[in-house]
Symmetry: C2
């Protein structure tokens, strides 16, 4: 694949169109293409819309065209017969002509570029491979617009290719099992934002999720019955390949291994028996790297898995081996001495090297978390950086290919812009050009301790669309406000793929209220977020059986209502109270919140699952009342009581503390309005 | 299974508690059990809640207990470790003790009875088989209640068993393919309301949906790639069996057969080639019943399918053979003459008898639509009545077992009470007791011309819960208002099984408005229904590729807001305008509608898919304005202009006509208020 930086081209376009707003540049496109030349004119779409494919694509493209037409029909209500796309059908003057030179291989560094020209005569989509063509179809769908006359595509010339070749989403199907439809709908979402790697985390302390014919006790005893059959694995791989997505399985070794050892305790570094783990954290059970039985077992295991998973890469985990079982086992200690292995890290590298031989034997390359970086390892492995950017830089400097996940941990409930601005390879990175080329891309990581099939989409989407843009678009594309504007549209369009991030919100609120009126609860939950990082488990110990149906689960990352309010307050304060329209909007919003507790408490009274948010609800209204007072006092400081700031600060500080494992996300803005405390 | 009528017992209980409301009797139970004795007292549920299973159930029960605990946790937010249910675990004093005598076979007439006693000392669930126990677990979940102190089960004694042994839902996976998760979540919904047969319609003019290894062109050429692999079929059968549900496949023969003949045109009654049908209706392609090749083919086919589907019954369709190909084929006409087959019906019976021999050879019994009823057929087949109740009665009178679907055609968008009051075997049925016992039950039929995976749940649920009650509960349980009250609760609880009938409504409205504010559109769509029976296709020709994302698709059967309004108006008129509180509610509702068009038209202006509802939106507001005027004139007839009634009637009659293939469901109520026209 040609991997030139298109940053300069984009920059030039921004210069040329500099007088226009970002909207005029980016419209609803996400990821932003490398080169966009908007032109005047609209190409109308009606029920006579037709498509033809020419050239030599992989047949997956025909299915993709059918899906695109189906979605176009779904949005527009137009009856489009080509929803059943027949590549044999002769279309004399197709409205959309797709031309592809050759079939793509679903592998790293395949050509994904395309050009798309929307002109009155014809819409032309051209690509080297069907992968590029599929990306172009997604771009075309994002261009669909409407006015009082009907639907149309704006005239435009787009020239596009990804900045990084490895753009992934990790889905942890172990901490909570993720049924087939969860994986499938998220693959559709990935394709819509041009991600191309599903990193499928398939073994953990809490579950082993693949049918293994060689060692059937793995799935029989290690999964609670929740595993993918090999037929299902093949189904997912085919589904992903149809969407241009590679599937990389992760089998986490030698730690995070409890579920393997339930059925095969003789491979552990301490005597069993072992039970599937029901807690969250880092646990002791670890493979014994000093006995040959381990490698015989792993040889048989990876022989089977190498045949099942076609991608060239297999992920072996390698993270968070706490070494306790190794330290406590005299035989292992003796082995280390005999083999001159100075510490556990060296022992793990010994293990990894043995594993690498096995993978190599079966034609696979190794990927692992940054703990596998060690002087004893050859540089033909890929390092996935999670503990810090440093390990990515270090890996590249030492000649390893590397991918970045640090900063893309979407399970940690951080806001979208935090992830968005996390560039794997900014200009000032301390690496040579050669080292820079070793940075393959990145992966968002959906670790699943705190998500169920009902909530997982709301943790992945829409934030992952912004990460997808970071990995696809030029590094210069980093206007946060414009990203948030486009994200709203993208998020809504992702719903047509079956994703539940939006629609399960009301459903969870209905369940919480026993199907009573949800409006008051929604007003509250709209402005709270689950506590960030790993604090949820710290504030209240969580288990594998914790129901993920509580207020903290309905609450969503980067709460949009609160974010918009904070922005309004920023603007209002920056304008020195002069924007009266904005003031009125802020006042109305605060008034709604101030009144909300009175509406919500009667619902809480008869919904025991809501008892835990009594204080939280009171806090929202108390904070809002301070905000209303602050609006008054900003205009008329004289009427402000002398102890008001002090009293308010106490309430605000109290309200800033987590309640029911959530944070109230408007406190900083009200502090700012009130001119008290740190914001 | 013991099939005594529990009607008398229920009647006695109604007598005993006669002074109380229906609510006190039925609470949130659906289907209403045969015997319920409510008692005073509450059994509290907290995180110490435990379950033990004793006796000899099929292991499926352990999974069912785990699912029940998981749902209990999900509703209550309680951390219940037994979500991972381990039958080996010793519980000293379980809160719920389940005792089962023997494992059930998943077959017709298996014992499904249970008794459930909620007492302070312990909750006891006892059943002959795990099927009864699973029904009891669903009943227990429906009992879960809450007050200001927390969650509890009310003390009660329940003795329950189904009235009919065959309680089914037909899902047509052919007209639109229904992916695995659609089938699975609907199986969960079925189990929640104690249905026990999935009738899976697997072949049609528009698609052949099962992988066939003997004749692979069936699925390869007849399905557009949308078919179930045999592994997936097995997965569904196992999933259903885990929920006590039989799976009966339907392979529709000899008509409705286009998709078979695409790959095997030599078996048709007229020369091919054939293409998968994209229109809706009754089509000509029909198997040739006069050539041995047909029976050789069907022998090989049913040999394979008989092994794949374990149930004793296979459905062979048999409906709507229009006979055109037979009439036009001289060789077939000669065959009929030679074999003294007087008409096409006799020829079809010849075919059916040949088919019956094949099914019998492979250990299967035959079910078919009522067209297969013919003097030449033996009585060991089951007749499914769809064209009218008469065929059910006739079948029973002639000694056939029979099931009723006439009156349960949920694809025809009729209101819930219509289906609910449709009793397969009312007291006055002209049959002997022996003949009565041949009536096995009934099936709701989800024909799929006009539903997609996105909308199908909203056509099945919640109405099918009322049909489930008809087939389970005593015939005397027929209070429509109480049914509707309970249906709201049941419908909401069905969401926890992943069903989308509620949550996809807003999603479709978001798509229709391009994610603009949906409130005005919702106000309109809340009071419209898709046109009933087969009128949608008559008003605008529909195709297999018609997007099912338009207003008519978002609109739902038995529109609850309109139904409640009609009821309010009925009550108001019956009370002769004296109920002022009701009058105020009606006025507020009418005012909202009267103002709605002004809010909705700006949305329509920029949403071309909504252009078709411009008139509909105007109609709602016009009708509401007449309603407001009517309220005034009812109180003060003197101010009513002389030509008002006549003018209003013109508007109302106009508004009663379908728009965008939907009906405005408040017109009759406003006519009633206005005292004009027929209501």
């Amino acid at each position: 694949m040609k991997r030139k930086s298109h940053g300069l081209a984009f920059f030039l376009i921004v210069m040329i169109f500099g007088v226009q707003t970002m909207f005029a540049q980016t419209r609803n496109l996400m990821p932003v293409p490398q080169q966009v030349e908007w032109q005047k004119g609209k190409v109308r779409v009606d029920s006579s819309f037709t498509v033809q494919v020419k050239g030599h694509p992989h047949p997956r493209l025909y299915k993709a065209v059918g899906r695109m037409i189906h979605r176009l029909a779904g949005r527009s209500g137009l009856f489009l017969p080509q929803s059943f796309f027949d590549p044999q059908e002769t279309i004399c003057h197709p409205n959309l002509l797709v031309t592809v030179k050759r079939p793509a291989a679903i592998q790293l560094n395949e050509d994904e570029s395309y050009t798309l020209t929307v002109a009155n005569s014809q819409i032309q989509l051209q690509a080297e491979t069907d992968l590029g063509a599929m990306h172009g179809l997604e771009t075309l769908l994002q261009l669909l617009s409407a006015d009082t006359e009907g639907y149309y595509f704006p005239q435009v010339k787009i020239n596009d290719a990804p900045r990084f070749p490895w753009r992934g989403l990790l889905i942890d199907a172990c901490r909570h099992f993720m049924p087939m439809e969860v994986i499938k709908r998220n693959l559709d979402g990935m394709a819509a934002v041009k991600l191309n790697v599903l990193h499928w985390h398939l073994s953990e302390d809490q579950g082993f999720r693949v049918e293994c014919k060689t060692y059937p006790r793995l799935h029989q005893l290690g999964s609670d019955g929740n595993y993918y059959t090999q037929e299902q694995i093949k189904e997912i791989i085919a589904y992903a390949a149809d969407r241009g997505i590679r599937v990389i399985p992760e089998f986490d070794l030698p730690g995070h291994a409890t579920s393997w050892l339930v059925g095969y305790p003789e491979l552990a570094s301490a005597p069993g028996p072992y039970k599937i783990e029901r807690n969250w954290g880092v646990f002791n059970p670890t493979f014994n790297p000093t006995i040959e039985a381990t490698y015989t077992f792993l040889d048989g295991f990876f022989k089977e898995m190498a045949a099942l998973f076609p991608d060239a890469y297999i992920h072996i985990g390698g993270d968070e081996n706490n070494g306790k079982q190794w330290n406590a086992n005299p035989q292992i200690q003796l082995f280390m001495k005999t083999h001159h292995l100075e510490d556990n890290h060296a022992l793990q590298s010994y293990f990894n090297n043995r594993l690498l031989k096995i993978l190599t034997k079966y034609g696979k390359k190794m990927v692992g978390w940054d703990e596998i970086l060690h002087k004893d390892m050859p540089t033909n492995i890929v390092i996935q950086s999670w503990r810090g950017r440093d390990s990515m830089i270090k890996a590249a400097q030492q000649g390893y290919q590397t991918i970045l996940s640090n900063g893309y941990y979407i399970d940690l409930i951080q806001p979208t812009d935090y992830h968005y601005l996390n560039d794997p390879a900014p200009q000032d990175l301390p690496v040579t050009p050669d080292q820079r080329s070793l940075i393959l891309g990145g992966e968002a990581t959906m670790w699943a301790e705190m998500v169920s099939p009902e909530t997982v989409d709301s943790r992945i989407w829409p934030r992952t669309a912004a990460i997808a843009e970071r990995l696809w678009s030029a590094g210069e594309v980093r206007d946060v406000d414009d990203m948030y504007r486009r994200l709203e549209t993208v998020s809504f369009h992702l719903e047509e793929l079956g994703l539940t991030h939006e629609k399960n919100y009301d459903m969870l609120l209905r369940r919480l209220t026993g199907n009573r009126n949800i409006s008051a609860l929604k007003t509250l939950v709209d402005v709270i977020e689950p506590v960030r990082i790993y604090n949820r488990n710290r504030l209240r110990k969580q288990f594998a059986y914790t129901p993920l149906t509580r207020v903290v689960d309905a609450a969503r990352p980067d709460a949009a209502v609160a974010r918009k309010f904070r922005k309004q307050v920023d603007n209002y304060v920056a304008a020195k109270n002069s924007n009266l329209e904005l003031e009125e909007q802020i006042r109305l919003q605060l008034q709604l919140w101030a009144d909300n507790d009175g509406n919500l408490q009667p619902i809480i009274d008869v919904s025991p699952v809501l008892f835990e948010i009594r204080q939280l609800s009171q806090n929202l209204s108390a904070v809002a009342r301070i905000g209303l007072e602050a609006l008054t006092y900003r205009k008329n400081p004289k009427v402000r009581p002398s102890n008001w700031a002090q009293k308010s600060l106490v309430i605000l500080e109290q309200a800033a503390k987590p309640q029911a494992q959530t944070n109230l996300m408007i406190v900083s803005a009200v502090k700012k309005l009130a001119g008290v405390g740190e914001n």
